[in-house]
Structure formats: structure tokens, C-alpha cells
Symmetry: C2
Subunit: 143 residues, 2 copies
């Protein structure tokens, strides 16, 4: 059983490794999608049937606080989670078909950097997401 990076980090920071946490971390690491608490819970309970939604929330809270995962509010909805990527990126959610497009704009990172320096700010979180219609949906038909 290879120790995943998240597990290792959790452990190193003095948190106990429980079956439930292990499962939540596995789901997060394996998933390429942006999961909300409910989906995370559904996927997790396939491996740990007695896990509760509360535990999922408590686990993501710990991970978020440690900076291991990020929470996004895609579109106008409730929170979605994702393991922190090497390259920061942002999200576009299509109102028509619901697909999420990830994109990276170095310019944004630069802009943030400059702003921070100019105003003397220390930036902790960046929330940047777009909504609208993707090329397919603009063309007049769903997906």
C-alpha cells in the first residue's frame, strides 16, 4: 500500500489516519473532476459504507486548512473541491451543458502579484471563475 502524498502530509502534520480519511483522500486523488461534498460522500461510502457526510465535511475542512485541496464556487452553486494542482488554474462553467473548462492565464497570476506588491497585500486565496456558454452551446444545441 503506497502512501499517497496527501496521506503523508496529513500524517506529518499530526492528524490521525483513519479509514474514513484515507477513503476521502483516495477519492479526491483519483478523481479528475471537481467534486462537491455530496458526490465525495457518495463515492466514499462505496468503500466505507458507514462514513457520514459530516465526516466528509470535517475531512475537507482539515485538508483545506492545510492547503492540500482548494474549494471553488463554480458558477453560482455550492462548494466544489479539488486537490491543489501544480499549476494554478481557473474554471469556466457552461450554463448550457454544465461542463467545466479549466484554463490557465499567467496574466492573471501576474496581475495578482503586481497588485499585492503595489498595495502591500498578502494574498491568501484567489477565487476566479467564469460562467457563460461554451462553443457547442453557443452554436445552438446542447453539448
Amino acid at each position: 500500500m503506497k502512501p499517497s502524498p496527501l496521506i503523508t502530509a496529513l500524517q506529518a502534520s499530526g492528524h490521525r489516519i483513519t479509514r474514513q480519511r484515507r477513503v476521502v483522500l483516495e477519492v479526491l486523488e483519483e478523481s479528475q473532476e471537481h467534486l462537491d461534498a455530496e458526490s465525495l460522500y457518495q463515492k466514499a461510502r462505496q468503500r466505507a459504507p458507514r462514513i457520514s457526510l459530516a465526516t466528509v465535511y470535517r475531512t475537507v475542512a482539515v485538508l483545506k486548512q492545510m492547503g492540500l485541496i482548494a474549494e471553488y464556487s463554480l458558477g453560482e452553486e455550492h462548494g466544489h473541491f479539488e486537490t491543489v494542482p501544480e499549476t494554478p488554474h481557473y474554471h469556466f462553467t457552461c450554463i448550457g451543458c454544465g461542463q467545466v473548462v479549466e484554463f490557465d492565464t499567467p496574466q492573471v497570476a501576474v496581475a495578482i502579484q503586481e497588485l499585492a506588491e503595489r498595495e502591500g497585500l498578502e494574498i491568501c486565496t484567489v477565487q476566479f471563475s467564469l460562467t457563460g456558454y461554451c462553443a457547442c452551446c453557443r452554436a445552438g444545441r446542447g453539448r
Copy 2:
């Protein structure tokens, strides 16, 4: 009684002008801050004591849909409203003292524009907000 731009727009779009709506619009127009529903409600009830929170929500929903005001989720919190500014701008919220700093970064607008063209997207909403510590709070003391 000069007709405010918001009132005029509301009226023009076929909505009735009620005392409650007039008051909510006035508060929004006079305020330079980013008000959440509750503050809006508190300020509105000083002029229309019997107004309800539900009416405030219904009013901002109409205005939002018409594009007259914008809703932001500053930091991680609940929604805040602001009349739509001529110049688009974004927000930085200080975790230490709670102050909100508005800033404009043309680069961001440009980045969005380029992204939209490259991917064929039609952008409807842009959510861009930062949190962190302002210069004062970084210095070690509140505000």
C-alpha cells in the same frame, strides 16, 4: 423627486414601482459599500419599517436579472450586492480587519477576452475575488 436611473430602468422594463422597491434602490444607490441582504434589509426598514427580508431578496433578484446590480461572494461568505459600476472592478477582502479593497486590473479583462476568443466562449459572469491580509494587518495590528 428626481427619478433615479435604477427606478427609471425598472419602470421601463414593466415592473411596478412600489414603496419597498424604491427604498431598496435608494439604499443601493446611496451606499458605497457592498451590502449583503441583511444589511440592505436593516437599512431599508429604517425608511419602510414593514418591509420584509423576502422582499429585499425578491427585489435584488429582479435587479440582478436586469443586470442593474451585481452579486459578489467576497471571501468565502454569503452574497453581497453593489450597483453595477461603469468601470468593472474586483474585490480584495482582508481576513484581519474585514475591509474590502476595490481594484481594477485591465490585464484581467484582457485575459478573459483572449480566453473567450481562443476557446469560442461567451462569458456571462466573472467572479474574481481575493482574500488575504492588508498592509495594516500584516504589520501586526488590526486596522
